[in-house]
């Protein structure tokens, strides 16, 4: 469920259909500004609070990693 929401948010931010789920930063699908927009939208959507420490290449380079980050944050609520 969260996965589909996250995917929809990424597509909304990038303005295009997500054709791959890994190497999101490496392939240029996400850049640093888009990542910040993504974090803002994830905070709104899931009621989360991200810290500077969460901004790592690993955490935002794949759908699996983003979903895990969101799940981990939700478990802390």
């Amino acid at each position: 469920m969260n996965r589909e929401k996250i995917k929809a948010i990424i597509e909304e931010i990038t303005g295009r259909a997500l054709e791959r789920e890994n190497e999101l930063l490496g392939s240029g699908i996400l850049d640093s500004m888009m990542t910040m927009m993504l974090v803002g939208r994830l905070e709104e959507e899931f009621g989360l609070n991200f810290d500077a420490e969460d901004f790592t290449h690993h955490n935002f380079n794949s759908m699996d990693a983003i979903k895990k980050l969101v799940s981990d944050k939700m478990n802390l609520l």
Partner: protein
């Protein structure tokens, strides 16, 4: 917890609006983005020349996503920050930047701490650039040194407000690492040295490294500890391509100012 997420860009007031053809920095950055804003009101207290109130900026984003962006703002100001009071440092594996530059063949050491080799001058910015072994030691892709008249307020700003991690600190020297908000979320080394004349003012349009640019989650309040050292500009808007930001300057007109930006989601 700091509201600041990390460093985004370095702002230079420069005699020229673009890097000159063949500049070694062109190897590291994408083709520039040009923007122009009327920031006359919010920047009024930060500028020496009122004629430079319109901000015509040129933004160079890191080609490999591992450096902060470089922003050049052309200035007609005849006052320059001392060239030895700031500079950019790179790790050994970025030696190619130095190809074709006049090297002073200097091996310098600041405050008996930070070693530099291959000190060169990039005249078009202008800035000194050098290689430092400290960068590899702390896994940093780039760094900068700055001289500040009041080291304690600078330490308070970088460590307690901007969320930088202190590596070393003495009475006249401090070394920090900070995350860069680029594609690789790389690490940047900031080295500050006590020096200069505390009675001397520097402004954002003085030629040289004018400001550090930071990304934050929201526009922060100035902490009580820093209210005697820093002032905050009125809020202003910035559009970079299709992205909208809100920003303020934290400044003391003594050392580099700090532009703090947040995404504008209104």
């Amino acid at each position: 917890m700091s509201e600041i997420l990390g460093l985004s860009h370095l702002i230079f007031s420069s005699p020229s609006r673009i890097l000159q053809g063949g500049s070694p920095l062109e190897k590291l950055f994408f083709r520039p983005v040009f923007e122009s804003f009327d920031h006359s009101e919010p920047k009024k207290a930060l500028l020496r020349l009122k004629t430079d109130e319109r901000t015509n900026l040129t933004l160079y984003a890191s080609a490999e996503g591992d450096l902060p962006a470089i922003e050049l703002i052309p200035s007609k100001c005849e006052i320059s920050r001392p060239l030895t009071s700031y500079g950019m440092i790179f790790p050994e594996n970025r030696k190619e930047i130095f190809d074709g530059l006049q090297k002073f063949q200097l091996t310098a050491k600041f405050a008996e701490k930070l070693s530099f080799t291959k000190v060169c001058i990039l005249e078009e910015i202008p800035s000194l650039i050098a290689i430092s072994p400290e960068l590899e030691k702390h896994s940093c892709s780039m760094g900068a040194w700055i001289q500040v008249p009041n080291i304690s307020s600078s330490v308070d700003f970088f460590a307690n407000f901007a969320g930088s991690k202190i590596i070393e600190q003495t009475e006249d020297y401090a070394l920090f690492t900070i995350k860069v908000m680029n594609k690789k979320f790389s690490t940047f080394l900031i080295s500050i040295f006590k020096g200069g004349n505390s009675g001397q003012n520097f402004y954002n349009d003085d030629i040289g490294l004018a400001a550090f640019g930071w990304f934050a989650k929201k526009i922060p309040q100035i902490p009580e500890k820093l209210t005697n050292s820093y002032s905050v500009s009125p809020e202003f808007g910035i559009n970079i391509k299709d992205k909208k930001f809100k920003a303020v300057f934290f400044y003391d007109n003594k050392s580099q100012s700090n532009e703090i930006m947040v995404m504008d989601r209104t």
